[in-house]
Amino acid sequence: MAFDVSYALDRTVAVIEIPERLDAGCSNELKDKINEIVNESIYNIVINLSNTNFIDSSGLGALVSKISVCKANGGDIKLAAPGKRVFEILQITHLDKVLNYYHDLEEAINSFATG
């Protein structure tokens, strides 16, 4: 499975589209994708969860797999449009307190412009 990546705000923000399920079957691939983006010196990343209805622990691990590098370089990892079920998982794991989340993709992208 390939994760679609697009760029916004003059390629300062990378947007990764997450499929319906983010689990052990694809979490390593997501980690690799985030790694590639960070290696391109892009540290502002939006994870678009609008199509996602299931995340397991390996998927959660992938979301934050490069968070210290992004933060250390003045960037961040932000979540866009998490559904109810996904949001419950974020709450259980307290990742909702670590990762900023937005109701829609545009809002998430623009948050990088407004700081």
């Binding site: 397991d56 390996s58 934050v64 968070i67 259980i92 794991t93 307290h94 990742l95 307190k97």
Partner: protein, 615 residues
């Protein structure tokens, strides 16, 4: 003289002379009761405490009474003390009672290294993996019986939990309160629903959780708001009511009678609540700990109190009192986050700076050096030792290593990280192990553990740390609790196979730890209260000297927190009397006369024992 096997009778023996409370003990107890409840009440309460002490004493075997006559409190701890922290049901095997399974494993695999087992709360409970106790005096029948606990006590010293701050909402005590039973009317801190605490008061109260401080319960008299520091299922006991204190002292001595050599006072920071204050570390809380200590000194002087106070270091060590009148051991809460910080940054400067402040408390008290436990790695204890950026870095590193974070509510209503939930193995090695071979991961892990094993104090290892468990992240989702990441129940057969397969990571960790513990146990240099001097010899190395009283000899301990080899020189002041050393890990002699430069490998451990020059 060894402590006798038989310590307490099954029934009290009132044919023997009753315990006579020494006048100085009586005076101390009355003074404490006066501080808590006023002088009139103290004289009313004292006789009941004296009765409880006499009852306890009547249970003691003659052998124990005789042995205590020669017991020296300064020998409370020795270098042989190494504590294994475990749940009573951490190993499941067939349909056997878990306490019996635990006993077999401890005897078969760990009895040469660990001499003390801390069995986390083994009482009937309703939540928080044992810390919401329903009945303080019973063993959870799913685990076993008192007889199973006492059986473990034949081969090991035992540490029990005194979960005295709160009780389960499902307990008989609390249910009787809901029923309006007058005996339990003031057992809890209660407000009527229309009588809220002011916002100003609420803001002052220090919280370890984000859950509401008050929980509404329906009682026979209508809805009531009840103080619940930790969760709606863990109702704080009201120590303003002397009946609660007396009851808890009775339970405390029951634990001694049942074989406790150490009693861990869980969450004791929050014991006494007083509106208008921050409700932590209050003088009344310290007074109650002093009372426990006075009573132990009088009737069971060999039993140690250990306080669990997950708070900033300076406040934590206040629970030693003056070194003789409160806890004999204090959880060294700053150690785990600082060791973790050293390994993830490859720099020991923060650990070294803090370690220099650690001095001997008294000959009767010392630190409990743990790196992991059933809870997470606390961040409050390093407030002021690490700055906000450094703490954030640990938070992000923990997430990257597959862990999670627990939060608490600050006085301004914001939430801040309280604890890092991750196994020690995953913290040190990360969750993605593709880059390292197993040998290197084991070496890195053992280096981290060596710091706690040789540092001033008594070391403790959590069961999952002993076998190198990785994060159980799925359990977090299943049980909806981030602490579940480090609380996996292990299948006994699988564990046995792992421990007997010498190529497995668990077996290699156990073998390496056993070897280091063996070194510790054989050397008085590592007595918990041997002196300690910390040196800055390289940013990559953590270095300290351990030296007993009245001796010129010492061991220079060096641990490399990085994977790179490093060359260092022993400080000149340590080579004045001898330049011959014996390195205890590699078992080789070193002559620094010819070459004062010493190379330590990546994640190396060197314990260089000074050798006196022959006359």
């Amino acid at each position: 003289m060894n402590k006798p096997v038989n310590q307490h009778n099954l029934e009290p023996d009132y044919n023997r002379p009753l315990f006579e409370v020494p006048i100085d003990i009586k005076r101390k107890i009355i003074n404490i009761l006066t501080l808590l409840y006023g002088s009139e009440a103290s004289r009313r309460i004292y006789p009941e405490l004296e009765r409880i002490m006499k009852v306890y004493y009547a249970y003691k075997c003659e052998d124990l009474i005789e042995w205590e006559k020669s017991f020296d409190k300064s020998e409370m701890f020795s270098q042989e003390d190494v504590i294994l922290i475990t749940y009573g049901d951490i190993i499941q095997k067939n349909s056997r009672k878990p306490l019996k399974v635990l006993a077999d494993f401890c005897r078969d695999y760990f009895s040469n290294s660990f001499n003390t087992i801390h069995i986390l709360p083994f009482f009937p409970y309703s939540s928080d993996r044992g810390f919401s106790v329903k009945d303080f005096e019973e063993v959870d029948h799913n685990l076993g019986t008192w007889s199973d606990i006492e059986d473990i006590g034949i081969d090991f010293k035992l540490m029990f939990d005194g979960v005295f701050n709160h009780i389960s909402a499902k307990s008989k005590w609390f249910q009787e309160f809901l029923n309006g039973n007058p005996d339990y009317k003031n057992f809890f801190i209660v407000l009527s629903t229309n009588e809220m605490v002011s916002e100003d008061h609420l803001k002052l109260i220090v919280r370890p959780r984000t859950s509401p401080l008050f929980t509404e319960f329906q009682t026979i008299e209508g809805p009531k708001l009840v103080w619940t520091t930790f969760s709606p299922d863990q109702v704080d006991l009201n120590f303003h009511n002397p009946k609660v204190l007396v009851k808890m002292i009775d339970i405390f001595l029951t634990y001694v009678r049942r074989g406790a050599d150490m009693i861990r006072l869980d969450a004791v920071t929050y014991l006494w609540e007083e509106l208008g204050t921050d409700c932590v570390h209050l003088k009344q809380t310290h007074a109650i700990i002093k009372l426990f200590r006075v009573i132990l000194d009088a009737v069971a002087p060999y039993v140690a109190l250990i306080t669990e106070t997950n708070v900033p270091h300076e406040q934590n060590i206040q629970y030693f009192g003056n070194g003789y009148d409160e806890a004999q051991m204090v959880y060294n809460f700053a150690l785990p986050p600082l060791v973790y910080h050293s390994f993830v940054t490859g720099r020991t400067n923060k650990l070294t700076k803090w370690a220099k402040t650690i001095k001997r408390v008294s000959e009767q008290a010392t630190y409990f050096n743990f790196l992991d436990s059933h809870d997470g790695i606390g961040l409050l204890p390093v407030k002021g030792l690490l700055d906000n950026d450094e703490m954030d870095f640990l938070v992000y590193q923990t997430l990257e290593r597959g862990g999670y974070i627990s939060y608490r509510t600050e006085s301004d209503g914001s939430e801040s990280p309280y604890e890092l939930n991750i196994t020690w193995y995953s913290a040190i090695n990360g969750s993605d192990e593709s880059g390292d071979d197993q040998g290197r991961r084991v070496k890195r892990y053992i280096a981290s553990r060596a710091i706690a094993l040789f540092f001033m104090g008594v070391p403790g290892v959590y069961f999952h740390g002993l076998i190198g468990s990785k994060n159980d992240a799925e359990a977090v989702l299943k049980e909806k609790n981030t602490r579940s990441i480090n609380r996996e129940v292990i299948d006994g057969q699988t564990l046995k196979e792992k421990l007997e397969d010498k190529s497995s990571i668990s077996a290699q960790i156990v073998d390496n730890l056993n070897e280091l513990i063996g070194i510790r146990k054989n050397e008085t240099f590592f007595h918990p209260n041997a002196h300690q001097y910390v040196y800055e010899i390289s940013e990559k190395l953590f270095a300290f000297v351990r030296k007993p009283d009245d001796s010129d000899e010492f061991v220079f301990c060096v641990i490399n927190v990085t994977g790179d080899a490093e060359v260092f020189k022993m400080p000149d002041e340590l080579t004045g009397k001898t330049k011959i050393f014996y390195e205890l890990v590699s078992k080789r002699s070193m002559d620094l006369e010819k070459n004062n430069e010493i190379e330590i490998g990546g994640y190396g451990i060197m314990l260089m024992k000074s050798i006196k020059k022959s006359a």
